[in-house]
Each structure stands twice: as C-alpha cells, then as structure tokens.
C-alpha cells in the first residue's frame, strides 16, 4: 500500500470515528476531543494529498500548519466555554432537560 493510501485511509477512518463520537458522546470534553480527532483526520488526508508525487506539494503542508493553529485556537476556546458551562450549571454537558436557565442561576450562586 502506498503512503498516500495509508495516510489517506487512516485519515478517513479518523474522520468517521471522530464524527461518531461527536454525535454520540454527551460530555463536552469528549465532544471537544472528538472534534480534534475529526480535525486530525482532515490533516492526515491533506498530508496524503501532498504526497502524490515524489517531491511533496508544499501548499497542503502550509494549509495543515494553518489548520493546526486554528484547531488549537478553537479547542482552547471550546475548553474555556466548557469550564464556564460547568461553573454555571454544575454539569459538563449541554443536556437541555437539566441545564435550564433557572438552574444555571442557582449553580452560579452555589459555593464551590
């Protein structure tokens, strides 16, 4: 199997795994991790695209580097938001049955 296929198919598998976890998992930390798995799958596919000739194409490499920074930024912001959600509602999920506005207000006043 060529490097292009190995990396490309691994990337496709990561995208599928991450997407499944993103939908099924409730905990925000797991959703954020799943989003990163999808992102890394995309990066693997892009790196595979760059290696279709003997000397790699630099443009997808540059796109992946840019993508990593954007992914880091998005992950950091998502984590900060998740911490805020936990502080406000006392839980780290976006469960609408429990995380009502009234409960959010109560959660914030609660000690700890």
């Amino acid at each position: 199997m060529s490097a292009v296929l190995a990396y490309g198919l691994a990337g496709a598998a990561l995208i599928a795994i991450g997407l499944y976890a993103l939908i099924v998992r409730r905990h925000l930390l797991r959703k954020i991790l799943a989003m990163n798995v999808v992102g890394n799958g995309v990066f693997l596919v892009l790196v595979a695209l760059a290696k279709r000739s003997a000397v790699p194409d630099p443009v997808p490499h540059a796109m992946v580097l840019t993508g990593i920074v954007v992914a880091v930024s998005a992950t950091a912001l998502a984590l900060a938001l998740a911490v805020r959600v936990r502080d406000a509602t006392g839980q780290a999920t976006l469960d609408e049955r429990r995380g009502t506005a009234a409960e959010a207000g109560r959660g914030r006043d609660a000690p700890g």
Partner: protein, 224 residues
Amino acid sequence: MPLLVRFLAATLSLAVGGLVAWAVLGLPESAGLREAVTAQMDRSGVSHPVTAVLLNFRGYDTLLEVAVLLLALIAAWSLRLAPPGRSPERPGLVLRELVRLLVPVLIVLAGYLLWLGAHAPGGAFQAGALLAGAGVLLALVEVRPLGATPPFALRLLAAAGVLVFLAVALLAMWGGRLLEYPPEWAGLLILAIESAATVSIGLALAYLFRGDEPTTHREGGERT
C-alpha cells in the same frame, strides 16, 4: 443514548468516512501546486517552500490564522474564568529542577526553530509552541516570570503578531498590493513577522492554558 440514534450516527459516520476514503482511492497522481511554488521560490525571500507558501504566497491565510488565535484568546479572557487554583502540595523537587533546566533550553530552541524556518521545517508556530511549553512548565511549578509585567503590555505582546503582520501587509501596498512584499525585502519582512508572531503565539497559548486574563492585583503574597 437510544440505540436508534447510535445506529444513525454510526451510519452517517461510516458514510462520511467512506466518501472520504473513496475520494482518496480515486486520486490521480499529481504534483499539485508544487511547480507553481518552485517557479516563484526566488522571489519569496526564503528557501523553504512551506515557509514561502505560509508567509508569502498564502500570507493571507497566515495573517487570518494569527488573528484567529488572538480572537480565541480575547474570547477566552472575556469569559472571566477563575484563575487556576493552587494545588495543596508544593511542586516536587524533581519537577522544579526539571523546569529550571528545561525552560532555558526551550527558549534557545524556540529561537533556533524561528531562524531555521527560512530554509528548513520550523518557523513561528513551532517556536511559539515551544515558548508556550516553557510557559506551561513554569505555571506547573507556580512561577510567573511575567507576573510583574503590566497587563496592558501583555495584551500588546499578545497582539504584536497580528499588528506587525498587518503593518507589513499594509506597507506592501505602498508600490504594490496587500501582502505583496518586494522580493528584495521579503526575507527580512518575513523574519520580522515571524519574530513577532512567535512571541504572540507563545504568550497566547500559555495564557489559553491558564484560562484567566492578566491582571495587576492578585499577585504579591500569592507566591511563596
């Protein structure tokens, strides 16, 4: 999570993954844009093609990328998270000595990677990530080397990457177009952008790890 939802999620994920795999399998041999990049390398100011694409040919992407990082930092700061609590135990001797040894090495390596970026894999983000690693290590042993720096200066440093990049991009309009550096100046301009971006990226990543925004009070007395 109901079984039906799991089943639908699995079907959708497999379909998307399968589509990507199908696209990968059907790819023709191609050099992509390599020829176009190689043809213009002489005018880029650097000799590493990825750096040339990042900071010259597709400088727009990188400008926006640095802006996205700054935006994430501003957004995280505006959430007003509590500062990370101190752990009840003092950091151990091994960790403290390790940090003492590693941080200077990380700073030197960051400078090396920044300089290396012009002709080999490396550059502002890699260097900034090392600086951020040093910042995270320092946070773990509860040392705050920038604790006495005024918050305004820290905010300015965090924005320096975007500001310098924007200034260079706009300066290039004098006699050209946005982000079109004159070839004879390109190397120097790219180094200036990358130097500012390194500091900003390192600072932004380290502060994103902490979560809280820089303030003047709450220092003093906190450290033992």
